[in-house]
């Protein structure tokens, strides 16, 4: 059923006059999402705009998205739109622009810090499905931060990659690549 806490939050953000779309997740979550935020999901945008559908109060089921992910996506996209507006307002004022950038970075750092690796991966899959370019770019960058300086095993596990090297092959490529690891401690 709907996560009342999140639903209330979303409704509190939207003003009475803002149009909303109802999104239903595969695990039964129901969200009323502001139109501007929902239009950030290209899968929805093209559904409406490309197909020339009339935007009436319809309910859309998102089969590949769970409610936990959707609530995070809505949170990020709402803040992203706010930062976009602030940035536009600060245009021309270098100091103000920098402040907005720093504020955004602070939010993004906190946002991603709270995510476990599993959650990060689920979010990426959801965002990839919903086709939200900006958020996907952000999550991909966060992935790079997660796997930086990590062992081969860690990277495999993160991306569900199956090792198809023989032990001899592994040894050999390890030696070939040793030059990049000179002076670095083993992980």
């Amino acid at each position: 059923m709907a996560d009342d806490g999140v639903n209330t939050k979303v409704e509190a953000v939207s003003k009475a006059t803002t149009e909303t779309i109802e999104l239903r997740t595969e695990d039964g979550g129901v969200f009323d999402v502001d139109k501007p935020v929902a239009m950030e999901f290209l899968i929805l945008k093209s559904f409406y705009e490309d197909e020339g559908r009339v935007f009436d109060k319809t309910s859309i089921r998102l089969p590949n998205v769970k409610q936990l992910e959707l609530s995070k996506v809505i949170e990020y996209c709402t803040r992203a739109l706010e930062f976009g507006a602030k940035s536009a307002a600060a245009a021309g004022d270098k100091d103000a622009e920098r402040m907005v950038r720093q504020e955004r970075e602070g939010f993004e750092a906190e946002f991603v810090d709270e995510l476990s690796n599993e959650m990060l991966k689920e979010l990426i899959l959801a965002v990839n499905f919903l086709d939200i370019k900006e958020m996907l770019d952000f999550l991909i960058r966060s992935v790079a931060n997660r796997i930086r300086n990590r062992s081969v095993a860690y990277v495999r596990q993160f991306f569900d990659i199956e090792n198809d090297f023989t032990p001899q092959e592994e040894d050999q490529i390890h030696q070939e690549n040793a030059w990049a690891f000179e002076g670095v401690d083993a992980d």
């Binding site: 899968i43 929805l44 559904f47 009436d56 109060k57 319809t58 309910s59 859309i60 089921r61 998102l62 089969p63 590949n64 270098k94 920098r98 950038r101 720093q102 970075e105 991966k121 990426i124 899959l125 990839n128 499905f129 996907l136 770019d137 991909i140 960058r141 992935v143 790079a144 931060n145 796997i147 930086r148 300086n149 990590r150 062992s151 081969v152 990277v155 495999r156 993160f158 991306f159 569900d160 990659i161 199956e162 090792n163 198809d164 090297f165 592994e170 490529i173 390890h174 690549n177 030059w179 990049a180 690891f181 000179e182 002076g183 670095v184 401690d185």
Partner: protein, 474 residues
């Protein structure tokens, strides 16, 4: 009247790796689709770790097209484009082996020196000097001014055509004298095809603050001319000085710092010169930031790709010889000096790092090659060090940290072995690199006198020209 829609099951269809039955994208397929983006944010060791996960990713990552992007990221576009055009010029090959090149540059551990000084005394060569300027511009080596015995200044300009390949024999031509007026301790930087000269001191002890621009013109095969003209300034010029440091930034600006001013006091100010497109006008403005490098002279300023500048060493207000490293990032309209602290005792032979009158030249790979100079006992050096500051994240918000944070400062300093010709120990010499950043030309400077253990130490000027070749091996 509420309609209900259901979005299609299919997400992005990735490649063959890891797709499940529903045709939904998996984390593995997404990794493949965004591989370049991810790798460009990782240091080379992490990139190779990724390549060791499975055969598919190894094949994807062992691509020279990908490594060209990594070279571009770590060395700068200028370096990569210079290598590409040089390759076209000589070998007409399809593509350079970028992954192998990256590895060679990464593993640089020695240089090879070649003597370029003519034993033949019939040929006209520049006389011994120090605190002159030496630059590589428009395929030529250009030498101007400097000081010689008796504390006298020189005002001659010499040019030698180098062309695209490195040559073992150089022919100097004297192309000018008298303009600009004689001086030593001035600076001269290259901005595109232009030389920009500033300041210096003449043998009356007068410090200057005039700004000159010079252009080389090659007529026919061996006739070279160089025209110098005074730059018309649209704003106030920095206070007069000599023994300051300068570098060109991004081919449109010149940065200067410190030096010894009118009353003999060491300065610690930073100024930027912007030259107009017509090359007739220039405007100076001071950069005021806190903190900033303390006052000093005989130090070095080097631009290592894009808008990142490194300051090193010199002699401070209390006459002490310094070894501090400062980095200035200059993204649009925002400047900040950051000191990079490091511990001398942790660096092998690091005790020899403090120096003044050294040369710091940008070489391929976005690093500095530091050579010579003297220490607080006026002992001159002949060593070669590579200074790598890529570990320090740029203050520009878009820059990711691509280096191993654990080894943050471990690779900052590396002393290189030197083979071949053994140059004299020297200070207040000049060095400049070829456009590829693989060869360094070094000329002149002060070397040890013939009579040892004499107080005060005998000043001896040198006229040796030698070539330093980076030994890039697999």
């Amino acid at each position: 009247m509420e309609a209900s829609y259901s979005m299609e099951e299919t997400g992005t269809v990735g490649g063959g790796v890891g797709n499940n039955n529903n045709n939904r994208a998996t984390i593995t397929s997404i990794a493949q689709d965004h591989l370049l983006t991810i790798l460009l944010l990782l240091p080379s060791d992490s990139i190779l770790s990724f390549s060791m996960t499975c055969k598919k990713f190894r094949a994807l990552i062992f691509s020279d097209t990908l490594w060209e992007s990594i070279c571009r990221r770590d060395w700068g576009s200028k370096s990569v484009d210079a290598l590409k055009s040089s390759n076209l010029h000589f070998q007409q090959q399809q593509q350079l082996p970028w992954m192998r090149l990256y590895k060679q540059v990464f593993r640089l551990e020695s240089v090879s020196c070649h003597n370029l000084t003519y034993p033949d005394s019939e040929l006209l060569v520049p006389r011994p000097r120090a605190s002159h300027s030496l630059n590589f511009v428009s395929d030529c080596l250009v030498l101007f001014g400097g000081g010689c015995d008796g504390g006298r200044h020189l005002d001659d300009t010499w040019v030698s055509f180098i062309g695209k390949g490195f040559q073992k024999m150089l022919k100097w031509q004297k192309v000018n004298s008298g303009i600009p007026s004689g001086r030593f301790g001035h600076t001269c930087v290259v901005m595109g095809n232009l030389l920009v000269l500033f300041g210096g001191i003449n043998d009356h002890g007068s410090r200057q603050n005039d700004t000159w621009v010079g252009q080389v013109a090659c007529h026919e095969t061996s006739v070279i001319t160089l025209s110098w003209k005074l730059l018309d300034l649209q704003s106030v010029a920095p206070p007069s000085r000599g023994a300051h440091a300068a570098c060109s930034v991004d081919d449109r600006l010149m940065l200067i710092h410190g030096g010894i001013g009118l009353n003999g006091l060491r300065l610690g100010d930073t100024w930027v010169l912007e030259v107009s497109e017509s090359l007739c006008y220039g405007a100076w403005r001071e950069i005021l930031t806190y903190p900033s490098p303390p006052a000093r002279s005989g130090h070095s300023l080097t631009c290592i790709g894009g808008t990142r500048i490194v300051l090193f060493g010199g002699r401070g207000l209390g006459y002490e010889v310094l070894n501090d490293v400062w980095v200035l990032d200059m993204p649009e309209g925002y400047h900040k000096w950051v000191q990079i602290p490091y511990e001398l005792p942790k660096i092998p032979e690091g005790v020899s790092l403090p120096r003044v009158g050294h040369s710091a030249t940008p070489i391929v790979g976005g690093r500095l090659l530091i050579h010579g100079g003297e220490d607080s006992y006026r002992h001159k050096k002949d060593d070669f060090w590579v200074l790598d500051v890529s570990a320090i994240p740029s203050i520009s918000v878009q820059q990711p940290t691509t280096l191993n944070s654990r080894g943050l400062l471990a690779k900052m300093w590396k002393k290189l072995k030197a083979n071949g010709h053994k140059p004299n120990r020297r200070s207040f010499h000049q060095a400049c690199a070829d456009p590829l950043g693989c060869y360094l030309y070094v000329f002149g400077g002060m070397i040890d006198g013939l009579v040892q253990a004499v107080e005060p130490p005998e000043l001896r000027f040198d006229a040796e020209l030698f070539l330093v070749e980076l030994v890039l091996k697999l």
